[in-house]
């Protein structure tokens, strides 16, 4: 099994979720994160204090999938999350050795 972790622009969440359900992936976990990269941030001014803010709001999506579906999943996310503008984000994939569904105790493929 693989875990696909994607960092995306927040307003793309619904499209990504729809793309994933479109290919039969019905579970995922989302975390609010801040990203630092090439996309430049903005300046905030509070009276005399000016701050260059370089961390931008992003969402991290984690999807555990069977090894065989990884490419499909990565493509689906990449397509749905793409705007073509800097800061669209990244997708990382790594192996997981074990998966358990807490409710039933099912493991691995059955747990997803």
């Amino acid at each position: 099994m693989k875990l696909v972790m994607a960092i995306i622009k927040p307003f793309k969440l619904d499209e990504v979720r729809d793309a994933l359900t479109g290919i039969g992936v019905h579970g995922l976990t989302v975390t609010e994160v801040k990203g630092y990269g090439r996309q430049k941030g903005h300046t905030e001014i509070y009276r005399g204090a000016e701050y260059a803010v370089s961390f931008l709001p992003k969402l991290k999506i984690e999807v555990a999938v069977a090894a065989g579906s990884v490419d499909k999943v990565v493509e689906a996310i990449a397509a749905a999350a793409k705007t073509g503008q800097i800061g669209d984000g990244k997708i990382f994939v790594y192996s997981i050795e074990q998966a358990v569904r807490i409710r039933t105790g099912e493991t691995d493929g059955d747990a997803l």
Binding site: Y46, Y51, V53
Partner: protein
């Protein structure tokens, strides 16, 4: 009938000017020449409301205005400091403060004749600016109490996010005793030095704003910068709370400014109108200047301008015309903007919430400007024998005395407090945040 002999403010000719309009009031017309003083229920109603409004300025108004500007980890400490100071000052006021500020004494300070409000009853009356018109002394005590309660609370913005709570309480009691009561007495008591110079301070520009602003500046210098100042992002944790606070300050300030007339007459309504237009003009002035200088008009800028305008119109509220008020507010906002965004950074001290930059600087502009906008030629109500130059000089003298008295006094008091209980928390505690360290609570949970 025993009368209180307190007199809040009243260059006689000016009082006469206000009375002219009051001449339209039926009750007055009916009053026999030198008869028993009258108490009008309309005045009483208005003065009660004014007390309530000034409390509202303080809690929750000022508490929120300040609290929104600090980081979440210090939120409760600010709310707590403002609230605890207000409570403490109220108790001190009825114990000896009112007496020291308004009972007898000399040109600098009152005496102990009314400690524990001794001798004050429901029948005691206090003077207004109109001959023969009185208000119950209880309400005069309460009204002045609210001023004494908010003023030391203003100071804490200068050293927010790093001060020890015990130091705040101790300093406040000392400062109100040695700086506030004397200045209040000098400016407002009928035997006060500055009062007798003929300086105008309708609602507390020197007593409240310059006084607290200078104490704040000294505090920021003595206590030093926050950890991470100029390096980390130290952004306001909730500007919406700051705007709620600014709105409440504006709303409550009508008690401050228009309540200072001690009656509910045409002169009071002038103070009301001025408190609208000076503030509106100041808010817009800050906004447009910031827009021009920084590229964007900020909500904090607008809110800051609103407060700067309120500060500036305070000494002039009842004596300026509406157009003079508009200009005074706008000028003060521009000066405060330049100070807070440029001068302060150049000087490099950390007055966390710009208490000096807004209350001190705005107060000075307002106090001096009052000498100008009072001019009948500019639509002001005038004072007897008014000459602009001499009035402005008198205003400057009053400002100077306040700055020196409080500057020196505050410095000494900070040093005393530092020796007695220590002024500042440790670096680790400052990082952790005062809410947990000093109060054992956190502002927000889910």
């Amino acid at each position: 009938m025993k009368l209180g002999s307190v007199l809040r403010w009243g260059a006689p000719a000016l009082a006469a000017g206000l009375m002219m309009s009051a001449a339209a009031f039926a009750q007055d017309a009916a009053a026999p020449a030198a008869a028993a003083p009258t108490v009008d229920k309309g005045d009483v109603a208005w003065m009660i409301v004014s007390c309530v409004l000034v409390l509202f300025m303080t809690i929750p108004g000022l508490a929120l205005f300040y609290g929104g500007l600090v980081r979440a980890k210090n939120m409760l400490s600010v709310l707590m400091q403002v609230s605890a100071i207000a409570c403490l000052m109220m108790v001190v006021w009825i114990v000896y403060g009112y007496s020291l500020a308004f009972s007898g004494g000399n040109a600098f300070i009152g005496d102990f004749g009314k400690i524990f409000l001794s001798g004050v009853t429901s029948e005691s009356l206090a003077d207004t600016f109109t001959d023969g018109v009185k208000i119950p002394e209880y309400i005069f005590i309460a009204f002045q109490m609210t001023f004494a309660a908010i003023t030391p609370a203003l100071i804490i913005g200068a050293f927010a996010e790093r001060i020890k709570f015990s130091a705040v309480l101790l300093f406040s009691v000392l400062w109100v005793t040695f700086c506030y009561y004397p200045i209040a007495h000098m400016v407002w008591a009928s035997n006060g030095m500055i009062f007798n110079w003929g300086a105008l301070d309708f609602a507390g520009g020197t007593v409240v704003h310059i006084n607290s602003g200078v104490a704040a500046l000294v505090g920021a210098l003595v206590i030093g910068k926050r950890v991470g100042y100029g390096k980390d992002i130290i952004a306001p944790h909730s500007l919406p709370l700051t705007l709620i606070g600014a709105g409440m300050l504006w709303v409550g300030w009508f008690g401050f400014n228009a309540g200072s007339n001690l009656e509910s007459n045409a002169g009071t309504t002038l103070a009301v109108l001025n408190t609208f237009v000076a503030t509106a003009g100041a808010g817009l002035a800050w906004m447009f200047v910031e827009w021009a200088a920084k590229g964007k008009p900020s909500m904090l800028g607008l809110a800051s301008g609103i407060v700067a305008g309120l500060v500036a119109i305070t000494p002039a509220a009842g004596v300026s015309g509406p157009m003079g008020a508009l200009v005074l507010g706008a000028v003060a906002a521009v000066v405060c903007f330049i100070f807070c965004t440029t001068v302060k950074n150049a000087l490099g001290y950390d007055d966390s919430l710009d208490v000096f930059g807004i209350h001190g600087v705005g107060g000075i502009v307002g106090a001096i400007g009052t000498g100008i906008v009072v001019s009948p030629a500019l639509g002001g109500v005038g004072v007897d024998g008014y000459a602009m130059a001499s009035q402005v000089v008198t205003q400057i003298k009053a400002v100077a005395v306040t700055i020196v008295w409080t500057g020196v006094g505050s410095f000494i008091l900070y040093k005393i407090v530092d020796v007695l209980v220590g002024l500042r928390v440790s670096v680790e505690e400052e990082r952790e945040g005062l809410d947990l360290i000093s109060h054992g609570e956190r502002a927000y949970h889910s």
